[in-house]
């Protein structure tokens, strides 16, 4: 599958308080990472509806990253725990909906972990690049609807 000119589209769903701020820190510190990621800021990983991930693939993403506060550090006390539980269940559905589980990534990046964010993005980008484009949904995606 791997195509040398292929540049993957990566979508990152991140929480406002830890990972978004950590990514800000990576910027402030002028660290460099690959430019494939498009970030979507949410208040908390608890806000992430599994549909977001499916819709991201439907919209042409080749890989999706979900990242929030470390367990125990959630700005909203427990949102990241809900996200984690949801993810455990959702993972089992991925295959059913035709998404390769290894294209979906989950990580914890705190507000002080600019370096970790850089490492995570580079790793995710490299992994997805080696997997090649995600084509399962291309025929499907004639029209985008927002109704789950």
């Amino acid at each position: 599958m791997s195509d040398s000119s292929f540049e993957p589209k990566i979508v990152a769903f991140v929480c406002n308080w830890c990972t978004y701020t950590g990514a800000d820190l990576a910027g402030t510190s002028r660290m460099k990472y690959q430019s494939n990621v498009r970030m979507i800021r949410l208040p908390c990983t608890g806000r992430i509806d599994p549909m977001f991930i499916i819709k991201a693939f439907e919209s042409g993403a080749d890989g999706v990253l979900v990242s929030g506060c470390h367990p125990g550090d959630c700005h909203y006390t427990a949102g990241n725990y809900h996200a984690r539980r949801r993810w455990i269940l959702f993972r089992q559905l991925l295959k059913f909906v035709g998404i390769d589980e290894s294209r979906v990534f989950f990580s914890w990046v705190s507000a002080s972990e600019g370096k970790k964010w850089v490492d995570v993005i580079n790793e995710v980008t490299d992994t997805v690049r080696s997997k090649g484009p995600f084509t399962n949904y291309q025929k499907l995606n004639k029209e985008f609807t927002i109704n789950g």
């Binding site: 589209k9 308080w17 208040p43 550090d73 700005h75 006390t77 949102g79 809900h82 927002i146």
Partner: protein, 665 residues
């Protein structure tokens, strides 16, 4: 119809160098519903903001997308500018093309493409924004200060002095913190207790300050302006309202050999004790782990001698709840203890220095106690092993600090200064003694600091050797310190009588636990994180929770005091308002589709979901639906993602906004 304006900021060269801003602006105008776009060197400047305001008027914009720095930086600025131009501030969104684009990528083509993508996503999102207005909530004008060291005392006194009530919580039996243990302070050699104890008494007696010593914060609920705090008042075994502090119980206690925490294990204390003579409050506490009565059920000597019947062996921990509007965290630091056996030790240890093995190898705080007039030697410099005056003392700096291989990467900041002070105090007390300091660099930035170190070297003839010590070992009653002088490039060997290690400043062992209770972020070392290192250094990212002193990073006394006053002023800014304006990012229920399953209630961490009865005209109950208490809702959106019928949405981050942002990928 939506008329969107896109404003692309160059941020000088910060964005402009890697993102081709004029091209981005040209691309942006092609997007559906974008009727105006422009790029400008500094969008946040006055002329930049005026451009936005004028464009809103001239082009009848009803939504504004600014492609600039992080929303954490200037979202408020641009929203305010929009509001001034008559546009609802929540119709303004930021596309982060600096922190998340220009600063992290090198390739102009890629960065420009990404910037256009980010703007397109934001444009699609903003189409589903709608005007919002701030939620007003009342403020409890009372502060909680956690930690009764110099930072906490200062913050409490400042807030109390402004006329507001303060709850000061200290986990030890007395306030005072580490500063009360110090002998003298750099760079003036003021007696530490002489300047601290009057402030301790002032805090104790202040009518606006309520002091809880030997107490800890168990739980914190609520949010800025409206916190509900549970304080655990640990069982002191002494009734505070009856005790007069006569000290008879302390004198008569048959247990004499419990190591004194205050004297850093260099002296002993009884089972019932007051940590130090000037303790505030001067009320003893029974250490139940060593007390004979608690171990065997016999003794009760303290109870027998107490004329006021203040001893209460049955006393239990008491839970007290307090409502406060602001919280100042001033929990301070600990010195890194070299302890190979400890599971908690974050560093691999410096066993080669013999700490814990040789009695005369001590740390900085132990030296403070030896040099202190209130210490175990009454201020005479005597080494712990044989109580003899040491004639040669070696001070080793950076033990654990600035050492990524064995310790911590960071600089503990205060050690250069306190080591110079220690060497100086030693020389002042032992005139014929020799003091050696092994250092990596001398970091003496601060008013009068470098002069102080020069004084130690030039006037008190402390010998500074630049280099690291490889090991310390005992030989015929002497401690052989083997190191290297890296300036002259020769190995050095000193036969010392005592060795003082400037061990690293580390976060309190319970720092992470408290951070999780408070919901504030902390770094990998356990130091609490400020919102912005330069512009918001005393605020945590949780509204209404402020930081003071060494809990944020290693700090000296003047800095801790300055931070404490700054944190207090932040709390006072809050208290200066009658009502607090909160972002209207809260959940909202669609009562037509809600079936009342209350999954939202189960996942809500704030108990913000309430039951609402829907009745028909005749008053018959039709159904029960969820309803959001906007005073309690913090806007995490977990309910939104959980709701099976999509009947609850997070305003500002609703499904349409996110889905259309995704669609625009």
């Amino acid at each position: 119809m939506m008329r969107i304006g896109v404003f692309v900021c160059h941020c000088g060269e910060n964005i402009g160098k890697t993102v081709d801003c004029p091209t981005v602006a040209k691309e942006a105008i092609k997007l559906p519903n974008v009727v105006y776009s422009i790029d400008y060197k500094y969008m946040c400047s006055d002329p930049g903001q005026n451009m936005i305001k004028q464009a809103i008027a001239e082009h009848k914009l009803n939504a504004v997308v600014v492609a600039s720095c992080s929303p954490h930086m200037h979202e408020k600025t641009f929203r305010k500018a929009c509001a001034q131009a008559g546009l609802n501030p929540y119709m303004c969104e930021i596309a982060n093309v600096r922190e998340h684009c220009s600063w992290v990528h090198d390739n102009v083509e890629e960065a420009t493409k990404k910037a256009v993508d980010l703007i397109r996503m934001t444009v699609e999102r903003i189409k589903f924004n709608f005007p919002l207005s701030e939620i007003k909530v009342p403020i409890t004008k009372k502060a909680l200060v956690i930690g009764g060291g110099i930072s906490g005392i200062q913050a409490a006194l400042d807030i109390a002095g402004a006329g507001f009530k303060v709850i000061l919580v200290e986990k030890e039996p007395s306030i005072g913190g580490h500063m009360s243990q110090l002998s003298e302070t750099f760079p003036t050699l003021d007696c530490s207790q002489c300047i601290l104890t009057p402030r301790m008494v002032e805090a104790y007696q202040h009518p606006n300050i309520k002091l809880y010593t030997y107490s800890e914060v168990d739980n914190v609920d609520g949010f800025i302006g409206n916190f509900k705090v549970t304080i655990r008042k640990k069982a002191r075994s002494v009734k505070e309202n009856l005790c007069t502090g006569c000290g008879l119980c302390v004198q008569k206690c048959p247990i004499k050999k419990a190591p004194s925490e205050f004297d850093e294990g260099l002296a002993n204390r009884p089972a019932i004790y007051v940590p130090f003579p000037q303790a505030v409050p001067n009320i003893p506490v029974i250490d139940r782990t060593v007390c004979t009565f608690f171990k065997t059920g016999k003794c009760q000597m303290c109870k027998k001698v107490c004329g006021r019947d203040a001893i209460d062996f049955e006393q239990k921990d008491e839970l007290i709840t307090e409502d406060v509007g602001a919280i100042i965290v001033a929990t301070g630091y600990k010195l890194y203890k070299i302890d190979k056996k400890s599971k908690d030790a974050a560093v691999k240890g410096y066993g080669e220095y013999g700490y814990g093995k040789y009695k005369d190898v001590i740390d900085g705080l132990q030296f403070e106690r030896i040099a202190s007039a209130s210490g175990p030697t009454a201020g005479e410099i005597l080494r712990p092993s044989d109580k003899k005056q040491p004639k040669k003392v070696v001070f080793i700096q950076c033990v654990g600090s600035r050492d990524p291989s064995k310790g911590f990467e960071y600089c503990s900041k205060i050690c250069c200064m306190y080591t110079a002070k220690h060497a100086m105090l030693y020389k002042h007390k032992v005139h014929d003694g020799e003091a050696y300091v092994f250092y990596m660099d001398i970091r003496a930035g601060g008013k009068g600091y470098d002069e102080f170190v020069r004084r130690a070297i030039e006037e008190d003839h402390v010998k500074y050797i630049r280099g690291r010590v490889s090991r310390v070992y005992e030989k015929k009653g002497k401690y052989i310190v083997k190191g290297e002088d890296t300036i002259s490039g020769v190995p050095v060997e000193i036969e010392a009588d005592m060795v003082v290690l400037a061990t690293a400043i580390v976060a309190q062992p319970e720092a992470a636990k408290l951070a999780q209770t408070l919901g504030i972020p902390y770094d990998k070392y356990g130091f609490y994180a400020e919102v912005h290192p330069k512009l918001r250094p005393v605020e945590s990212s949780s509204g209404g929770i402020f930081l003071a002193g060494a809990c944020q990073s290693p700090r000296d006394i003047p800095e801790s005091v300055a931070m404490a006053s700054a944190a207090a002023s932040k709390a006072l800014v809050l208290f200066g308002n009658e009502m607090l304006e909160r972002e209207p990012i809260v959940a909202k229920v669609n009562e037509n589709t809600c079936v009342g399953c209350f999954y939202c209630k189960k996942v809500c961490a704030y108990n913000a979901i309430e039951l609402k009865e829907i009745k028909d005209k005749k008053g018959n109950l039709v159904k029960v639906v969820a309803s959001v208490n906007t005073g309690l809702c913090q806007g995490c959106g977990t309910c939104n993602a959980t709701c099976p019928s999509k009947s609850i949405e997070l305003i500002g981050f609703n499904d349409e906004q996110i889905f259309y942002q995704i669609k625009a990928l």
